[in-house]
């Protein structure tokens, strides 16, 4: 597909490579984000998400590959791109001695067009903190100032790198609301996250990234659906009991896949009401006692686990 025609993607990345020494941070990554879409890069820490997004933001140069944003390229259209992009970096400490309003006004002054300082401060719900210095704000409030600085130029394409990392649940929800508002204005958004719930709630489409490559791409619903299972059963036995072999478990009614994580078993199943009774009767037959049993609806985390055999977060 030609990136220069009318239905051009807002962001188009082809065969991106970047290495640091021996480490291949980005290893042949392809992406295409449609205008108005909210696109998420989901992956564990060190997967190459930040390197990818910073190459797209023109802050890092790639070893090879093409990046095109809004039909423009960094080597030819840097000035225009800077005016039309909004960027929030993963870790920026804005000046602690400046107030919210002074900070947003500074960023506003860099853009030739944009939204009014007061509007943006109201949008991120910091009107009461307008004259407070950033050093006195909470982490969530500071993150909202950072978001205000990213959107004050009224960008056509907004990049958010781990926007809610380190925030408490309430602050995360507040930020999600703000991001949803931005989406509602029809602008394009790309974010990175290692929170599956964040990707699931905010993103129209998600690319799961591991070792610098896209290993799965689609809507959250399609990706979860690709497991062919809506639920996950997680169980374990007490110590010193014989193990069950995977073959037997796979034979149970409704089981699509079996995984073992340490001494725990994970079954991906289509319908709980069929599989659970079958599992329990199998255990009774083998004289095995459960030490642990939980079930949950399948998530993007399960997609990641089934693709890589590893957890998304190493906690």
């Amino acid at each position: 597909m030609s990136p220069s025609n009318q239905s051009a993607p807002a962001l188009f990345v082809r065969q991106l490579h970047k290495h640091y020494g021996d480490v291949r941070a980005v290893d042949g990554l392809d992406l295409s984000v449609a205008p108005g879409e909210c696109f998420g890069l989901l992956g564990p820490n060190g997967a190459g998400k930040t390197t990818t997004i910073e190459i797209c933001e023109g802050l890092l140069s790639a070893d090879s590959g093409d990046v095109e944003l809004l039909g423009l390229r960094w080597d030819r259209n840097e000035k225009e791109l800077r005016q039309r992009l909004g960027i929030q970096l993963q870790e920026t400490e804005l000046a602690a001695k400046l107030t919210v309003e002074e900070t947003v006004r500074l960023f506003r002054s860099f853009y030739s067009r944009g939204r009014s300082v007061q509007d943006v401060i109201r949008l991120v719900q910091l009107e009461e903190k307008r004259t407070a210095r950033l050093g006195k704000l909470s982490g969530g409030q500071r993150q909202r100032v950072a978001l205000a600085c990213a959107i004050v130029g009224d960008p056509d394409l907004l990049f958010l790198d781990e926007p809610t990392t380190g925030l408490d649940p309430q602050s995360r929800r507040q930020l999600w609301d703000l991001i949803t508002d931005f989406k509602a204005r029809g602008r394009t958004l790309m974010l990175t996250t290692h929170y599956m719930d964040e990707a699931q709630i905010l993103c129209d489409r998600v690319a799961i990234v591991d070792h610098g490559k896209v290993i799965a791409l689609g809507t959250p619903r399609d990706l979860i659906g690709s497991l062919g299972a809506e639920h996950v059963v997680d169980f374990a036995f007490g110590e010193g009991q014989d193990a069950l072999d995977d073959q037997t478990l796979r034979g149970l009614e409704g089981v699509r896949a079996v995984r073992r994580v340490a001494d725990r078993y994970e079954l991906q199943v289509g319908a709980l009401h069929r599989t659970i009774p079958a599992l329990l009767s199998l255990l009774a037959h083998r004289n095995l006692a459960l030490s642990h049993l939980t079930t949950h609806s399948a998530t993007l985390e399960d997609v990641f686990v089934s693709l890589t055999g590893r957890q998304l977060r190493d906690e």
Partner: protein
């Protein structure tokens, strides 16, 4: 009035001018840092006051002499000696004169002896006693009618401009300019790089030239205030002279501020940590504090290293400031120093801009 109308109105004029906003940020950050205010204003003044008190010029000490009161001739001898304003004369009984000499309260005891002569008692190992002997003898001989064979003229040099305080104030000003340029730029830029703020700014359409200009301009404004406060305070408190033209002095301040600004920028161009940049700043400034004649003349160092010392930017600044302030040298006489400073400025800015790490 609605909120949005207020908002729309505030984005005009200076509020929307990015250079103005960047400069305003520099000043806000500076003014909200009380320590910075002290180091740039209070410290040089306190230092000048302390040094001024320690090295103040005192009137020459009077020489204390006792005349032994043992007859009519002693009164006329004391009378003759009192005419010398450098002597303080006491008439004492013989035994109390001996005590005063032993305890050092007087440097010399004078008494008329039997056959019309005069007798001196003093400790010849004490310099002040030998001076007293010379002064008293001179007064005695003149009183007896001795005349000088050769005519002499003498001029007392104790004027403003040659005191220690006059020497040290230009040095302190040079030190302030150096500290302001190197600390003011170096610390702040590296702090912003460390906090990823520099990278964040570069991710906006901000002009990099304006970013650097905001530092240079705000340094200039602060520098003129700092220099004005320091020079004003030393003129008021100590009468330190300003013999050269204000234009010449201002030009030295501007050129030296630019060259130290360039050096500060160069020091800050790569460092990512405060520790790293502090080390570099101290490494740069310490040799100049010692060598460049802030507190004592750089002429004290061996002749072989003088060319090196003269090439240091702080030496050039201090020499030019002293020449202009104390000797009234005009711009034509200041070009060697201004040339040294300009060379530092051009070279350091050129290298700094080439290797500057924005991300």
């Amino acid at each position: 009035m609605s909120e949005s109308r207020i908002g729309a109105e505030t984005e005009r004029g200076l509020d929307a001018n990015s250079l103005w906003q960047l400069i305003a940020v520099r000043f806000r950050e500076y003014m909200r840092e009380p320590e910075a205010l002290f180091w740039s204003f209070g410290f040089p003044i306190l230092l000048a006051i302390g040094l001024g008190i320690a090295f103040r010029s005192k009137p020459a000490d009077l020489v204390h002499v006792a005349v032994v009161n043992n007859g009519p001739r002693s009164a006329s001898l004391a009378e003759a000696l009192r005419r010398d304003k450098g002597l303080s004369i006491e008439e004492l009984a013989p035994d109390s004169a001996a005590v005063a000499l032993r305890t050092g309260r007087v440097a010399l005891v004078v008494q008329p002896d039997g056959d019309g002569g005069v007798r001196y008692e003093f400790d010849d190992t004490r310099p002040d006693a030998r001076i007293a002997r010379l002064m008293v003898n001179d007064a005695v001989q003149r009183g007896a009618g001795r005349a000088d064979l050769l005519p002499i003229t003498e001029q007392q040099v104790r004027e403003r401009g040659s005191r220690y305080i006059d020497f040290v104030v230009p040095g302190l000003l040079g030190m302030t300019i150096m500290g302001g340029g190197i600390w003011g730029l170096g610390f702040s830029i590296v702090d912003q790089r460390r906090k990823n703020l520099l990278k964040r700014l570069v991710a906006t359409p901000m002009s990099r030239a304006e970013y650097l200009a905001s530092y240079v301009i705000s340094r200039f404004v602060l520098l003129f205030v700092e220099a004005g406060v320091l020079l004003g305070a030393s003129a008021l408190l100590f009468g330190v002279p300003m013999r050269g033209s204000l234009i010449a002095i201002a030009l030295i301040v501007v050129v030296s501020a630019l060259s130290f600004g360039g050096i500060g920028l160069l020091i800050a161009s790569r460092s990512k940590t405060i520790e790293g940049v502090s080390g570099l700043m101290n490494l740069t400034m310490l040799p100049m504090w010692v060598l460049s004649g802030v507190f004592f003349s750089s002429e004290n160092f061996p002749a072989r290293i003088q060319p090196l010392i003269k090439a240091l930017p702080l030496t050039a600044t201090n020499d030019a400031l002293r020449a202009a302030m104390l000797r009234g040298v005009d711009l034509r006489g200041l070009w060697p120093q201004l040339a040294v400073l300009t060379a530092w400025m051009v070279v350091s800015f050129a290298i700094a801009l080439k290797i500057f790490r924005w991300r």
